[in-house]
């Protein structure tokens, strides 16, 4: 799966997956503090089998977002998630301190 998808591809995929009858959720970075690796507005699209496209954190929290997204697809209720990007992870990707991100997850319906 492409990791360098542009925002175009991500939102197109969200539309195409939904039209194909899949359960689909869209995650969006709505706020960041500190050195968050992906800017506000970044998207991740997830289908009901856990396939995903895009990125909200450069890999740190995608797993957790995908798990929560499966819940959102089932319940239909949007959720806001907050993550602290661990200092160690932040250091590995070349950031001097940890960051915090808030991610809004909603069902495409």
């Amino acid at each position: 799966m492409a990791t360098l998808a542009t925002d175009d591809d991500i939102l197109k995929a969200a539309e195409d997956w939904r039209k194909a009858g899949k359960g689909v959720a869209l995650a969006t970075v709505v706020e960041t503090w500190g050195s968050a690796p992906r800017p506000v507005g970044s998207n991740l699209v997830i289908d009901d089998e856990g396939n995903f496209l895009g990125s909200v954190s450069g890999g740190c929290v995608e797993g957790a977002v995908v798990t929560e997204a499966l819940d959102v697809i089932e319940s239909g209720k949007p959720k806001t998630l907050e993550f602290g990007v661990a200092d160690e992870t932040a250091w590995k990707v070349g950031l001097s301190c940890g960051g915090t991100i808030r991610v809004y997850v909603e069902k495409v319906e």
Partner: protein, 243 residues
């Protein structure tokens, strides 16, 4: 997100028009605001500000409470007539700033891919090259050949479009003569006031690379500040206003 909103959003993006999704996180309420509808939107001011900066973000204390704005703005483009020395310096700067660059020059000795690696070069006259490019609001247009046979028809095309910036190289005298010719083609003073000339911010640029910096500075100002602020207001005046 409702599939209808997503479909409309993707359609706006395909058509290279700005659009903003307004989401109330607390209620889950969501709507799409297309660029054409911003002026009559209750959140007009904050939406305009976000479209101009191209940045998504939270907006507190709006008439509709705390909302999140997801901003979708097309990638800006630059179309240049003149595969000249300034263009050679300008192309890499513009690419670094995130613009798609197209160079148009019918003189085949100038318009070569070797002189302009990594950008689109079209060795055709403007009347052939420009119409298929779809010059739109997110396009900056600059005329750099010094040759009215090439620059004039290109400027006529740019003036007929909604590009956010039009600039033309040449001294005040050269530009004065250009304005006379364009008036003869039926353009009003208001139309012609859209052309930035002498081109670029007044930074005393001398070399082609410095002129390219001055032009890209001016284009950045028009992209981020919109058309109403005078680009050449003296620095002292600007500082006075700020304090």
């Amino acid at each position: 997100m409702k599939l209808d909103i997503l479909k409309s959003l993707n359609a706006e993006r395909d058509a290279r028009r700005a659009a903003v999704v307004v989401t109330n996180e607390a209620t889950g309420e969501q709507r799409l605001v297309k660029a054409a509808d911003v002026a009559r939107d209750p959140l007009k001011d904050v939406i305009e500000k976000h479209i101009r900066s191209g940045k998504s973000g939270m907006a507190e204390d709006t008439p509709q409470g705390k909302v999140f704005l997801t901003v979708h703005v097309p990638a800006p483009r630059i179309v240049v007539t003149g595969a000249v020395h300034i263009s050679q310096a300008l192309a890499p700067i513009a690419r670094l700033l995130g613009y798609d660059v197209t160079i148009v020059d019918p003189r085949t000795a100038f318009a070569t891919q070797e002189r302009f690696p990594d950008v689109k070069v079209i060795a055709e006259w403007p009347d052939v090259a420009l119409p298929p490019l779809g010059v739109d609001h997110y396009t900056a247009f600059i005329a750099l050949t010094h040759d009215p046979k090439i620059d004039d028809p290109a400027l006529v095309h740019a003036l007929s479009r909604d590009c956010f910036y039009i600039g033309a190289l040449g001294s005040r005298k050269t530009h004065g003569r250009r304005l006379e010719r364009l008036k003869g083609q039926g353009f009003s003073d208001a139309d012609l006031a859209r052309i930035h000339a002498p081109i670029g911010l007044p930074i005393g640029a001398v070399s082609p690379a410095e002129i390219a910096v001055a032009i890209m500075g001016e284009i950045t100002a028009r992209l981020r500040q919109g058309p109403q602020k005078a680009p050449d207001a003296p620095l002292e005046k600007t500082l006075e206003k700020a304090s």
